[in-house]
């Protein structure tokens, strides 16, 4: 048996979701451990730019109910309306709470929090553009992550920095009792025993070749869920952000368009006027990404290969750019060689966000189809943030709703876990095989023989997903993608790492991460093949229409035999009327 630490709750992931949940529990005097494979402020939340959405009404008239409508519509009606009501209702409180914690929001002249318009935001259920995204310049994620980390220092949360979570510990009755993890510096495996385990491991868009995501975004929690025999929800839905820097992938915030920027094709045409006659450049992200892809396909892309479009912002003036979009200016100059005060930024749709993930209810409890129904809580297990699918984003996330998701559901998870811990005071015994899955994986890599290499296999997986499961999908392409991915998976068995050092072995980490990425890639392809309709970010060339009769339901992918199950969308909100699915135009 490997050495063990015991806590009331163990949180895996030190990004916004994990830190918000940790804070809630630490302030309730619980013994909380946060395990993170990087120092918390290196988490990917730090890269969020444009802001966090809440109907504060500081700039335009606003109402949480309008925010809810926009989110339901943005989700292409696949979002669960109870969870969306919960999030949008709680949004103003969650943002004020961040402000009270010290988040350095930009300010309006009257001293209130600065808000900017973002895509898909309207007043009065589809009327005028709303101004709803609260921002700290274009560094909102950085400001949010650092603020939450700082509050956790004050709350004395215990951090296990640079520990890599390996696998969930689950007993025969299905209770989750903690997690195994590798101490990266020494190579020592540990068991973290806890009555509550919360996954906040972020997204996995590193399955794609071109991604805005950090290197660390390997969807580790999702790999753990699949290995534990639990399903993943809606894995066909990946958001391609319209404006990533070509090749590099770095994100150029929607806030650029919110501040007055617009897209141009090679003929200098504002092509979004054609695709979204009302919202123009501030249509939903899926709509804008498809428009750019169409322009490129039609030969109207820019540059020598015609493979990007331009995002123009210089007309708002250098002063505004420097005060409201300083980070974007820095990124553009560093990675695109362009000063946006003088010239347009080259951009192209880039894999950005995973709408699917670990199925949860609105208390952030992980739910699974078991004996009594499609949404039975897995006792002791929670998931929050991008790794979770609650589902507030449905088939397409609105900009600014991701940071909101982190804090609203991080807080809700903390609160529910506190209750759960009060009701479940006695730790259940760890099963005898608690560490077997983890030690088995480590041992395999220690003894591996063969001539395949991890970076090569990872690159092939990324190419397959990019080519076979991008902005547009088609049956033959997807089938071919699954076949090719199968070959990569088979070759993983022959993969070796030559670096056998115990100390800070990053080659081994990358191998363990690939074991998480590959099943996510498979879940994505299989789920995308099954869904024979186009909805939100999932665009099938061969099924261009949304099909509510057959597909107004969530996909559940399980690893065993690539099994797919389905569950209905929760159309009934908590208190208000259902927003009935209707045609979605911007």
């Amino acid at each position: 048996m490997i050495p063990k630490r015991t806590f009331d709750a163990v949180i895996i992931g030190g990004g916004g979701a994990g830190l918000r949940a940790a804070l809630q529990m630490a302030q309730a005097d619980l013994k909380v451990a946060v395990i993170s494979k990087v120092f918390p402020t290196r988490s990917h939340t730090v890269s969020a730019q444009g802001g966090i959405t809440a109907a504060l009404g500081n700039v335009s008239d606003d109402d949480w109910h309008w925010h809810m409508y926009d989110t339901v519509k943005g989700s292409d009606y696949l979002g669960d309306q109870d969870a969306i009501e919960f999030m949008c209702r709680n949004a103003p409180t969650a943002v004020y709470e961040l402000e009270h914690m010290g988040l350095p929001f930009s300010r309006l002249d009257n001293g209130k929090i600065y808000q900017r318009p973002f895509g898909g935001q309207s007043q009065n259920f589809g009327g005028e553009q709303a101004v709803r995204t609260c921002a700290a310049a274009d560094r909102t994620g950085h400001a949010l992550l650092h603020t939450l980390y700082q509050r956790n220092i004050a709350a004395r949360t215990q951090f296990f920095e640079e520990f890599f979570a390996l696998d969930l510990i689950r007993d025969e009755e299905g209770y989750v009792l903690g997690v195994s993890a590798l101490e990266i510096e020494t190579g020592q495996p540990w068991l973290f025993e806890a009555r509550v385990t919360l996954l906040a491991t972020g997204g996995g868009a590193r399955i794609f070749r071109h991604s805005t995501n950090a290197h660390i975004n390997s969807g580790d929690g999702l790999g753990m869920i699949l290995r534990a025999g639990l399903p993943l929800e809606d894995m066909e839905f990946w958001q391609f952000h319209p404006t990533g820097i070509p090749e590099i992938g770095s994100l150029i915030t929607e806030g650029v368009r919110g501040e007055g920027g617009y897209l141009l094709n090679k003929d200098n045409e504002r092509f979004m006027l054609r695709y979204a006659p009302n919202a123009h450049d501030l249509a939903s992200r899926d709509v804008v990404s498809r428009a750019i892809a169409q322009e490129i396909l039609a030969g109207r892309g820019c540059g020598p290969h015609g493979d990007f479009v331009y995002l123009k912002i210089d007309h708002i003036g250098a002063d505004k750019i420097k005060s409201r979009l300083p980070g974007i200016r820095e990124l553009s100059m560093q990675f695109a060689g362009v000063d946006p005060c003088e010239a347009p930024i080259p951009v192209t749709p880039t894999a950005h966000y995973m709408m699917g993930g670990i199925p949860t209810n609105l208390h952030a409890q992980v739910v699974t189809p078991e004996r009594y129904g499609p949404e039975e809580a897995v006792p002791g297990l929670y998931a929050v943030g991008e790794c979770a699918c609650v589902s507030v984003h449905g088939a397409n996330r609105l900009g600014g709703n991701s940071l909101l998701d982190l804090v609203v559901f991080g807080r809700a998870a903390g609160n529910h876990a506190i209750e759960y811990l009060r009701e479940n005071t006695i730790p259940r015994p760890l099963p005898a095989d608690a560490s077997d899955l983890a030690t088995g994986r480590l041992a395999r890599w220690d003894k591996a023989k063969g001539n395949e290499r991890v970076p090569k296999l990872r690159a092939e997986m990324q190419r397959i997903l990019q080519e076979h499961c991008g902005v547009y999908r088609r049956e033959d392409l997807l089938k071919e993608g699954i076949e090719k991915l199968g070959q990569v998976e088979a070759r993983l068995q022959d993969a070796v790492i030559e670096d056998r050092s115990k100390m800070f072995n990053t080659a081994r980490l990358e191998a363990l991460e690939l074991e998480n990425l590959l099943p996510i890639a498979r879940a994505t392809l299989v789920s995308a093949l099954a869904r024979t309709e186009s909805r939100g970010a999932h665009s099938r060339e061969d099924y261009p229409k949304r099909d509510d009769d057959q597909w107004l339901r969530h996909t559940l992918y399980s690893r065993e035999n690539d099994q797919l199950d389905y569950k209905p969308v929760r159309l009934k909100p908590l208190t208000v009327e259902t927003f009935q699915p209707k045609e979605r135009t911007y």
Binding site: H44, S47, G111, Q150, L331, K456, F504
Partner: protein, 232 residues
């Protein structure tokens, strides 16, 4: 391209060594991190370094590159003199290769209580702050805790355990400068110490290396001014 990279694995090396690599690589538009990744993927998977966002906001990959502390992910390869000399950040214990023990650095950060202290009941909505008051935080809150400044500071090299270093002091001033914070006196009490703050001699290496263009020396000067004002 030629590289000389600091290598040390406590498991197999008695002492650190510099290893040379020749990488077939077109540097155009590429950063030092791209080259490190290419070396790891194609020449030597045992080379260990930290990285995360690869765009200069997470602060993972502060390194000493050709003698200058900088972030590998935003340092352009073009224009660097070859062989490109890459070492861990100075003065911190090396865990392995380019990975240093940041423990001391984080301790100093935590020691300045880098969080807002305000004991008033929280209002229902936001606390108000004028754009001018908020502008006081610009150049302070953007710190990414990469450690480039602190590990370039001779005062830190001499007294790493007692001098808080530019990064922590920048964050100390970030909360002092915030109109929402009520603990200025308590904070100044902690900083009024021959080592914690006053070991800064205005050498300004921190300003020169900060990859985010921040100015810790100026922030330290403002703390000193507040201390002087308070004593009058």
């Amino acid at each position: 391209m030629k590289f000389r990279i600091y290598r040390y694995d406590p498991e197999s090396d008695a002492k650190p060594r510099m290893q040379e690599y020749v990488l077939d690589f077109d540097p155009q538009g590429k950063k030092v991190l791209d080259a490190l990744i290419a070396i790891k993927e194609t020449l030597d998977e045992s080379l260990a370094f930290r990285r995360s966002c690869r765009e200069g906001v997470c602060g993972s990959d502060g390194l000493n590159i050709n003698g200058v502390n900088s972030l590998a992910c935003v340092t352009a390869l073009e224009g660097l003199k070859e062989p490109i000399d890459i070492r861990p950040l100075p003065r911190l214990a090396v865990i392995r290769d380019l990975i240093v023990d940041m423990g001391q650095f984080y301790q100093h950060y935590k020691a300045v209580k880098p969080y807002l202290i305000n004991l008033d009941p929280e209002p229902e909505n936001e606390r108000l702050q004028s754009p001018e008051e908020r502008a006081e935080l610009d150049g302070l809150y953007e710190c990414i805790l990469c450690g480039c400044c602190t590990t370039s500071c001779p005062s830190f090299w001499w007294n790493p355990d007692k001098f808080l270093g530019p990064a922590a002091l920048l964050q100390a001033y970030r909360v002092i400068a915030d109109t929402r914070d009520q603990a200025t006196d308590e904070r100044l009490d902690y900083l009024e110490d021959p080592y914690r703050l006053f070991r800064c001699h205005g050498i300004m290496n921190c300003v020169e290396v900060c990859p985010k263009g921040l100015n810790p020396t100026e922030a330290i000067g403002k703390i000193k001014t507040l201390l002087v004002k308070r004593s009058l």
